[in-house]
Amino acid sequence: MKYFWLSFKAIFVKDIVTELRAKQVLPTMIVLGMLIVWILRIASEAATKVAPESPPLIGAAALWIALLFSGLLAQEKSFATEHQQDCIYGLLLAPVDAATIYLAKLLVNVVMLCIFELIIVPVVIVFFQLIVPDRWFTLIAVLMLGNIGISAVGTLFSAIVQLRGSLLSIVVLVILMPMMIPATSALMMLFAPSHSALVPVSSFASAIKYMIAFDAVFVTACWLLFGFAIKE
């Protein structure tokens, strides 16, 4: 167990330091996220004339679209450094379990998404005039569940894409679809409680349960499959 923590910490710290120095992932995420939010903000302004109460609903969607696409873009690069100079073989030659590599990479991706959210969430709240009175903790919980789901699948597929050169990113979007429905519904109910009847999931609690179940299933499945993904 001590050895697990030692190698887990080594990989986690290495990835964070590498990213902070290379500055490849976060700037890309922020630019793409801002662009998505800005475009949807323009659409929202037009929609307000037809349906004055649409901004909170579009805001919820804008936040998830920005998180999903920026997250996947960033995660595709999370194995790019391992590909340079065949570093992945350095990892595989060490007596480190593939599961440890996966969990460390997963945590790095979750942390990157959290940093991104610290920037993008206030922007979305201001742009779409969202009101989150006394429900900050709930908002953070929903976003964290979404983070974990996106990162769980994204980490596995980034390894496959980088090491095997397949264009499998599109598959990630399909796999994440069952989580994006309750995730978007949860934020719509949070930002516009009066329109709860319009969302596809029956209640906020059901949406959270779906997201927890998705995270549990996909973190476990991807953790088990990761060893096969990175070995030739």
Binding site: S7, I11, V17, C87, Y89, P95
Partner: protein
């Protein structure tokens, strides 16, 4: 170029540092290795020669556990690399023409990272010792990305030795190195073997291979066609025979 000393195959006993037993590998319909057996005793340095596409790198990747053979097994110091990797992997260090180090980490950070992965005790002291050995002490705070090819190869050597392995695999380690860097690498390999380490190296440059090894093995497409100790062969006529064979193959 046709004789194989059968005595060498007897080395593939359990006490050999590297024991390759009846390994075969094919990529789709193309057979790359066919029933290869090779035993390397502790302290021995073996040069695996062959033309491009002979299967040298595939053999080394299978020994390292990076690739699974279709048949046969590999044991490092008696531990099967597939079924007992947690015991086999710490015995092994690997150098290739790519450094396997992170460009955005410093020299010290790279070595500390790998030392931690292998659970090296007092990793900072071990890294300092290695930096001194390979002559990189003055570069310890420099990022790997600014190092020259020769310095990067020194860092790669330090990375491969950070956990004090017993077996060192070197896949075309001299590629892209200048004469001084080649000489440094030869002395490091010699030092490693003198201290009881076992080296298996691939190269297509027979001259450099003979300089730093005490046994030479020639791998033709799919099979071993020559295996002899350096002390048992006439190096000049062997080199001529090998170069003539390589020209015909290419």
């Amino acid at each position: 170029m046709t004789a194989i000393n059968k005595d060498k195959e007897k080395d593939s006993a359990d006490n050999a540092a590297v024991s390759v037993d009846s390994v075969s590998k094919a990529f789709a319909a193309r057979l790359v290795l066919d029933n290869i057996s090779l035993g390397v005793a502790q302290g021995q340095s073996v040069c695996v020669c062959g033309v491009n596409g002979a299967g040298k790198s595939t053999l080394l990747r299978i020994i390292a556990g990076l690739m699974q053979p279709d048949a046969g097994s590999v044991r490092l110091c008696g531990h099967n690399i597939r079924t007992n990797p947690e015991k086999a992997k710490p015995q092994l260090g690997v150098i290739s023409h790519k450094s396997m180090v992170y460009p955005d980490l410093t020299v010290f950070e790279n070595l500390s990272f790998f030392a931690n992965l292998y659970g090296v005790k007092d990793s900072a002291a071990r890294v300092d010792e290695l930096l001194e050995d390979v002559g990189l002490s003055s570069y310890r705070y420099d990022r790997a990305t600014i190092l020259s090819r020769g310095l990067l190869q020194r860092l790669a050597i330090a990375r491969a030795l950070v956990h004090r392995p017993i077996v060192l695999l070197a896949d075309e380690p001299f590629t892209g190195l200048d004469a001084e860097a080649c000489q440094h690498l030869i002395s490091v390999l010699a030092n490693f073997t003198d201290n009881g380490g076992t080296t298996v190296m691939t190269t297509h440059d027979i001259n450099i291979g003979m300089k730093c090894c005490d046994r030479v093995v020639v791998l033709d497409r799919t099979r071993l066609i020559f295996d002899a100790m350096m002390c048992d062969i006439d190096t000049i006529s062997f080199t001529q025979d090998y170069l003539s064979y390589a020209r015909n193959k290419n």
